[in-house]
Symmetry: C3
């Protein structure tokens, strides 16, 4: 299935945005029944992850702790003041792969897919591509 690029608007400097529905919509359009789905973030100060969506305090705690351990200010040389965001991007990672089975994305009961904004607010892109067995 052809790769698709979608836009995501973030509203804070650091924020996790639930994109599970966007990934499921793409999967429906793709028609892939069994295979893999890859999500790819074409930015160097953002990432993609999976975590809990039942309690919104979980994503707040993730953002809080990453900010506390990796604050924007340190003895950084990069002049844009967002070296912390570049580091978070590499630690959380720019891509995710998931399993497609029976036309559905396999996710655990508490799992949602999150676009991780570490240097917003911005309009961001996300790439999605499904491949069939």
């Amino acid at each position: 299935m052809k790769a698709e690029q979608i836009q995501i608007r973030s509203h804070q400097r650091e924020e996790l945005i639930d994109i599970t529905g966007l990934a499921e919509d793409y999967l429906g359009r793709s028609g892939v029944v069994d295979g893999f789905l890859v999500l790819f973030v074409p930015h160097t100060t953002a990432a993609v992850t999976i975590n809990e969506n039942a309690d919104p305090a979980v994503t707040r705690d993730i953002v809080y702790k990453l900010h506390k351990e990796l604050p924007p200010t340190d003895d950084y040389l990069h002049s844009e003041g967002n070296s912390d965001a570049h580091i978070k991007s590499s630690l959380v990672g720019p891509s995710l792969q998931m399993i497609i089975s029976g036309g559905k994305l396999i996710l655990g009961r508490w799992q949602a897919i999150y676009f991780c904004e570490f240097d917003g607010p911005r309009i961001r892109n996300l790439l999605m591509k499904a491949i069939a067995d």
Copy 2:
């Protein structure tokens, strides 16, 4: 090849469990000779990684340091007391992909695949799916 779900029992709150043999067994059943293997953890307080299996002190040191830098207690809002485990899950990551060549999983001499338990002990699930070229 159809995705398979297996169960893993953890015995400590934080623990790395060698699952290399389980992945190789699945690969044998799959019959895939050349392609990719994806492992996926359908939980939000666990992860999957690759690291050294020659010296058990390595996995001990990984668990020790992640616990020291991300202890269970902080100014967290999530009431279950396991926000540290959610953060570790996103940092280490919920999935891994590996290369299958000549019917074998390509792993370096010192590499083993580890299920990472960050909020055990529990019975956990792990999904595996191989895809052929």
Copy 3:
């Protein structure tokens, strides 16, 4: 497409080495037009990531901060003195998957692929495999 293994020489203990050209060369040889590319590091004290290549201060800042937060010395039991490198390897991750579209690797404007050396200098291996739709 058959997996290929290439060699990379690192020159410092901790260093990010731009391997974008090596991945694009492999993709050209593979002939894959639409699909996925997987990179896999068969070592337990190295990793692979994507980050900015416009300002070299970014990779310097990543190396600097990971070293500061995860220094070689702590109450580690692994006797080789490189437990920090093993931990960085699992946090950044041993593999990456990217989307191939129209014979090109999809990368954002500022993105480059980096081999992450955490315990060099050494001669290292990197595996690459492309799969077509």
